[in-house]
């Protein structure tokens, strides 16, 4: 069987020798080291098989008295003859087969499922740090090895698994659900003042009020005590609850520099291309150094895709470097004041919150040569309780 296979692959042809003493021909072949087999007599002729590559040499060794006839060639070499002169086609076919074998062994696409608040980019970046990216050889990716490392890098995740089917890596994640903060209602606790102010309204749900309307309270003072005294039950401690509304006052000062540095783009750009394959970066740009002192860098990554949407494990990274110079710019005082006032008012609204209201606001400004100072005085009405 093995012999037949070797002969078939190498290609062979049957030879018919006629004439005087055809046995001599067999002797000459064996002496010249030309392998032959299946030598038998057919009538007066002698028939034997030789390898196709020995055909020319065999013909030259024939005795003048003998006549040699070659049968059509058999075996694989005959089948491959159709490719003679079409080396480009064979090379293309071989490359296509190699490419198919190669592309099935690397990751060409990464799909992520199960994430809500953690972004795809975060997971992809963590995977990239651990050596898993487009172009990574599939058999080097082990989910059990990756899982604890990914969970350490992204604490918001509680579960991770990577499943590779063909050349697509499917990353499945589950996000951690934070346990709700449970307040023990049986704990004895006072209600304290979160801010300083003058008490305007008190609502006590549990406990004893330690202040009256019109009192001034400082941050940290006890507003509603957990201690309750009753003529029948005596003294006991409860989880104090209630709301205390106060008039509060805020004073906020900000200093705004009137001279700032601004980016002025010089118009000099440089584009650098890199080929990324399996985590390795190949620089495609000659003289890829950045000659600018101050520059912005914008990177665009794009996976190479064949027509028809078939992705390749290569990523082209385009980096655009734009030069800029820093120049001093003097802001107009009026414009700066307007934007600063808006910022201060927004900050005040955020501090008071939705439960309170701003009663009155006054903003005073003073200006030196390079600094604009703004001071906000605000009177508010808000709830100040804190546990």
């Amino acid at each position: 069987m093995l012999k037949w296979l070797i002969r078939y692959v190498r290609g062979y042809t049957a030879v018919q020798v006629t004439g005087a003493y055809p046995e001599r021909f067999a002797n000459v072949l064996s002496k010249e080291g030309i392998p032959f087999w299946n030598l038998h007599r057919k009538g007066k002729a002698l028939r034997l098989n030789i390898f196709t590559r020995d055909q020319k040499r065999t013909a030259s060794l024939a005795d003048p008295d003998n006549q040699i006839l070659f049968d059509p060639q058999k075996g694989m070499s005959k089948s491959l003859r159709v490719f003679r002169g079409r080396e480009l086609l064979i090379t293309g076919l071989a490359l296509a087969v190699l490419f198919l074998m190669f592309s099935n062994s690397v990751i060409l696409r990464i799909e992520i499922e199960g994430n809500v608040s953690v972004t795809d980019a975060e997971i992809l970046a963590a995977l990239r740090d651990l050596g898993v990216d487009i172009g990574t050889v599939c058999r080097t990716v082990h989910s059990q090895w990756l899982k604890p490392r990914i969970l350490l890098r992204i604490p918001e995740l509680s579960w991770f698994y990577i499943n590779i089917t063909g050349s697509v890596a499917t990353v499945s994640v589950r996000e951690r659900t934070e346990a709700p903060k449970i307040l023990d209602e049986d704990l004895t606790m006072d209600v304290l003042a979160g801010k300083s102010g003058i008490v305007k309204k008190i609502e006590v749900y549990r406990g004893t009020a330690k202040i009256d309307v019109g009192d001034t309270v400082l941050e940290g003072d006890i507003l509603i005590s957990a201690r309750v005294e009753s003529p029948f039950a005596g003294e006991r401690y409860v989880n104090a609850a209630g709301k205390v509304y106060c008039d509060t006052w805020y004073t906020v000062t900000i200093d705004l520099p009137l001279v700032v540095y601004e980016k002025q783009y010089s118009g000099h750009d440089k584009t650098i291309f890199d080929l990324i394959f399996s985590g390795r970066r190949i620089n495609l740009t000659i003289l890829s150094g950045i000659p600018y002192e101050f520059y912005d860098k914008i990177q665009l990554k794009r996976q190479i895709v064949l027509p028809g949407g078939y992705p390749l494990p290569f990523i082209i990274e385009k980096t655009v470097v734009s030069e800029y110079n820093l120049s001093e710019v003097r802001l107009a005082a009026a414009t700066a004041e307007l934007s600063a006032k808006k910022a201060l008012t927004d900050l005040l609204k955020e501090t008071v919150g939705s439960g309170g209201r701003v009663e009155s606001v006054r903003i005073l400004s003073s200006q030196t040569e390079s600094v604009l100072s703004l001071t906000l005085y605000a009177h508010c009405f808000e709830e100040i309780t804190a546990k």
Binding site: E23, N27, S30, G33, F36
Partner: protein
């Protein structure tokens, strides 16, 4: 002259307990179950047809008789015959 040298070599190989076929290239014939014959150290094919194959050797002539005889492989030193072998004559 050549025959005498050959005989001397044969004797020397015997005295050194060496296999003669390896030492002096003596003819060696193996018969496998009447269907295959292996001839080593032959000197070429002398005559051949379906019922008889005549093979030359150093100082002998090997005649293989049978039917449907076929040489399945042959090179400068070995020759393998298959078919229905009835007798092998050495002269």
């Amino acid at each position: 002259m050549k025959k005498r040298w050959y005989e001397r070599m044969e004797r020397m190989a015997e005295s050194f307990r060496l296999p003669i076929d390896a030492a002096v290239g003596a003819l060696r014939i193996e018969i496998l179950s009447g269907c295959e014959v292996l001839v080593e150290n032959h000197r070429g094919l002398l005559d051949f047809d379906d019922n008889m194959i005549c093979i030359g050797a150093a100082h002998h002539l090997v005649k293989i008789n049978g039917s449907k005889l076929k040489i399945i492989a042959m090179d400068q030193s070995q020759l393998r015959v298959s078919g229905k072998i009835s007798s092998v004559e050495l002269s």
